[in-house]
């Protein structure tokens, strides 16, 4: 029998349901893998007992002949941006030091209801702001992958870098992520796994520490398309506690999986083919086009003319919302409080926020505060909102001639830790292909396409129409079946 930790969501769920093995056996195997992988620094907190409790519960239900749920017996990692009742929730920031929520996020609650268990809280870029996991107050996560012939540690991507590393290293079969401007897709691409950001509003944001409310969207990260479909079904659904939640039934994505793309049109956006594009990235894109053709799709050339304005608009809108969303971390009610001797209220704010927030978070709060300031608001924020609309219009026009869009997930494979940390602009550029779909609120996923010349994974991105996660998943499945991506990182981190 395959080792438990080599199994994905579907395999574990079906195996537990069939009685091939118990949920407790699975949980124990993953708990052990997590314990042996501290070098990756993927977890901020591990919760082995929580995983075991959930597993015991599933085994007991099965013994009584009850339904074990969509995720029955599957232990997962929870990005530490989701509030978990009774378990510390940090957003990888010192400012939430000691904060233990007395409530459970809607998405995590749905996963537990579906029979999943929690292995621990996963590391991330602080407040989900970053593309390399280096902004975490708990130290960076290390990508389990290494370039051929090198021991240099690589970035796992961000902000869901703990999630991507943990899934790639087989520390968990799946993990939650959140995606504001690529935070699911880019780390998935960097670690050779699959991740989908659904349509904005598909998954509730209630209980997820906010970064940029109009963009934040939870989604699953797993080893393949089917596993993502299963987990997304468990996570999605209307939540009356989130005003921006979609009031629409959750489709049966797993049952609807179909890699036959006959009659489907795949758009190739010409603006994404940039001068000086990495040759391996360009080649993987061409491979993807060939695979989708092979799956029966028609390839069409499309134009998304405002693409080049997406990144600047994103880096106005997201920091603007963040500067306001993060105002609540003030030392008054929870988390860190720095109260110098004889300090007044303003001093306490300044000291607390100076000590609690990391550099990148402060940078974005300052950018956001600036663009919302009197005299600058129209030039920046209003203008960025107009761009956002134009980008949504670009996509709406594209859907007249295609059903899904294929593009690279990122401009490069995983880069070495420390490489871009002192150059925020080059770091931001990593999200150039991911951000347009975020601004338009569209579903988009990354699937592994192959390895580059250094032996590092590359991802392909599929962007779909609003609400058409099924179309995105089906195209992803078609690529997955043809890419035959079976590469795994060496387990150098095991003692």
């Amino acid at each position: 029998m395959t080792e438990h930790t080599e199994m994905g969501v579907a395999q574990i769920r079906d195996g537990v349901a069939n009685g091939d093995f118990t949920a407790v056996e699975v949980a124990e195997a993953f708990n052990a893998a997590v314990a042996a992988a501290s070098d990756l620094n993927a977890f901020i907190v591990t919760t082995p007992d929580s995983a075991l409790d959930a597993a015991r519960n599933v085994d007991a239900r099965r013994a009584k002949g009850q339904d074990i749920g969509k995720m029955g017996g599957v232990p997962i990692g929870m990005k530490d941006l989701f509030a978990t009742d009774g378990t510390p929730t940090t957003a990888a920031s010192h400012i939430l030091e000691g904060f233990v929520p007395p409530y459970e996020s809607t998405v995590s609650a749905k996963l537990w209801d579906a029979g999943a268990g929690m292995l621990g809280k996963l590391n991330l870029d602080q407040f989900a702001m970053g593309s390399s996991n280096e902004t975490s107050a708990f130290g960076n996560v290390v990508n389990p992958w290494r370039a051929k012939g090198s021991d240099a540690p690589l970035a796992p991507g961000g902000s869901s870098g703990g999630s991507s590393a943990a899934v790639a290293a087989r520390l968990c079969p799946a993990a939650t992520g959140t995606d504001t401007g690529g935070s699911i897709r880019q780390p998935a691409a960097f670690t050779g796994i699959t991740g989908i950001k659904p349509t904005y509003g598909r998954c509730s944001r209630w209980g997820v520490v906010a970064f940029a409310s109009s963009l934040d969207q939870p989604g699953p990260m797993a080893r393949d398309t089917r596993d993502c479909a299963i987990m997304l079904e468990a996570m999605a659904g209307f939540d009356p506690k989130d005003s921006t939640s979609l009031d629409a039934p959750v489709p049966e994505w797993e049952a609807g999986l179909n890699p036959d793309l006959s009659g489907k049109r795949v758009g190739i956006p010409r603006e994404y083919r940039m001068d000086g594009m990495d040759a391996d990235v360009a080649k993987s894109w061409d491979d993807g086009i060939a695979w989708l053709k092979d799956a029966g799709a028609t390839i069409v050339d499309i134009s998304l003319p405002h693409t080049k304005y997406a990144l600047p608009a994103y880096y106005i809108i997201a920091p603007a919302e963040a500067s306001s969303n993060l105002a609540r971390y003030d030392g008054v009610r929870y988390g860190l409080r720095d109260l110098p001797d004889g300090a007044g209220l303003q001093d306490m704010y300044a000291a607390t926020r100076a000590a609690g927030f990391g550099k990148e978070v402060k940078r974005r709060i300052m950018i956001g505060t600036y663009v919302l300031s009197a005299g600058f608001y129209d030039a920046y924020y209003t203008q960025a909102q107009k761009v956002r609309q134009l980008i949504a219009d670009d996509f709406a026009k594209a859907w007249e001639s295609c059903d899904v869009i294929l593009a690279p997930t990122c401009p490069s494979a995983a880069f070495p830790l420390g490489d871009k940390v002192s150059d925020p602009l080059s770091m931001y550029l990593n999200d150039v292909f991911a951000v347009p779909a975020s601004l338009a609120g569209l579903p988009a996923m990354s699937v592994p396409a192959g390895l580059n010349r250094d032996g590092l994974p590359l991802g392909l991105q599929i962007i779909g129409k609003g609400f058409d996660e099924q179309g995105v998943l089906n195209a992803g499945l078609a690529i997955e079946q043809r890419a035959g991506f079976t590469a795994k990182p060496d387990t150098w981190w095991k003692a």
Binding site: P102, A210, S243, E321, D330, Y349
Partner: protein, 498 residues
Amino acid sequence: MSTYTIHGATGEWEVVIGLEVHAQVTSKAKLFSGAATAFGAEPNTQVSLVDAAMPGMLPVPNRECIRQAVRTGMAIDAQINAWSRFDRKNYFYADLPQGYQISQLYHPLVGEGHLDIVLDEKDPENTTKRIGVERIHVEQDAGKLMHDQHPTMSYVDLNRSGVALMEIVSKPDMRSPAEAGAYVRKLRTILRYVGSCDGNMEEGSMRADVNVSVRRPGEEFGTRTETKNVNSVRFVMATIEYEANRQVELIEDGGKVVQETRLFDPDTGTTRSMRSKEDAHDYRYFPDPDLLPLELDDAFLAACRDSLPELPDAKRLRYENELGVPPYNAAVLTAEVETARWFEKLLTTAAEQQGKAQADVAKQASNWLMSELFGALNKLGKDLSDSPVTPEKGGELLALIGDGTISGSIAKQVLEIMLETGDGAGEIVEREGLKQESDTGAIEAAVDTVLADNPDKVEAYRGGKDRLFGFFVGQTMKAMQGKANPQVVNDILKQKLG
């Protein structure tokens, strides 16, 4: 309406006033959370995770608060915006957990409207002045800081945090403290009629930011100051009085009014500077990304409109024109919705018991209520809300007067007993034997005695001293212990005196 001016050393100054009234929406739950809103609860017992701005918490609009604001807008003939949006007003303070207040800057729920004020209720012309309302938007209230609980620390009570407020912004249409006072009273009356705010200024359910500037008549507006959170009609008027005089003095002494926020001190009746424009916050307003635009459909708006009660101006006109209530009475009786309700119940009972139309008894009922009951209650230190006499019992009393069972003067005695005992009028009349004597024979006998006892006065009367008629009536009533029907007494006297 006389013109109000400040007599400065250099001439006359006109005062320009605009008010921003914050009215707490009557609702069981807060604007964006399910937490309760009762006044006077223990600190921090009415706080949800949303109100405390815990990480990941999200606002969900409370439809009832929106409905109340829409109804208020309709009551002042305002434009209702079927599409509106919430904005965040960003600033740091310990009573503001989110670090921003959710308000509506760019697209308020209610647009332009107006209300009419009457300055002098006794003015027979009943002259009104129309005051424009710029907008009404809904927003969250903040919490409360308590500085007296600890020697070095301040405490925060979040019970009010997130409570729904309507901000009702007037146009700068008022020109005197009296007009501003009349505006606040009229607004409060309308809010209470609509039921969208209890108008209780002592509990902070209603408070005003007072904008005042001065100018030479006919010139452009001067620089204004804004005095925050003034919490009674009297203080609003005092603020204006003080500010207007301060500004005139300042300008006449060669100074300049600076645009600033000021505070009113009720102990001294003065205002003082809180912060100037230079220190003003940059609130960095932007649309709240946690909330979708608020879109109201026709059915919702129609239901709001259908649920509006008869409003004070309409009621007052109806009292005057359809019921024949004297104008002054109509004004007083419609000023508070509770008074109008009481009066209408009184009227219903009085008319039913006499089998008459309401219009036939309304004038008398209004007079009785205003001159008899109000006066009596006033002496007891009570008002209608705790009156021992219910409107039904009052109606019964009026019916007894109307059908001649008792006279007006006996009715005063009966009312006193009713106020003491709470008993019904009919029961008291029966028990105390106060029924009026209409038997012509008995009255005739009494009249005969009176005339026989006063031959000189009879002579004088017949000689042209008409005023003596009252004397004969009084003597006859005295002889009948006040129980004679005055009409019958009059008739018989007239007949006998020829």
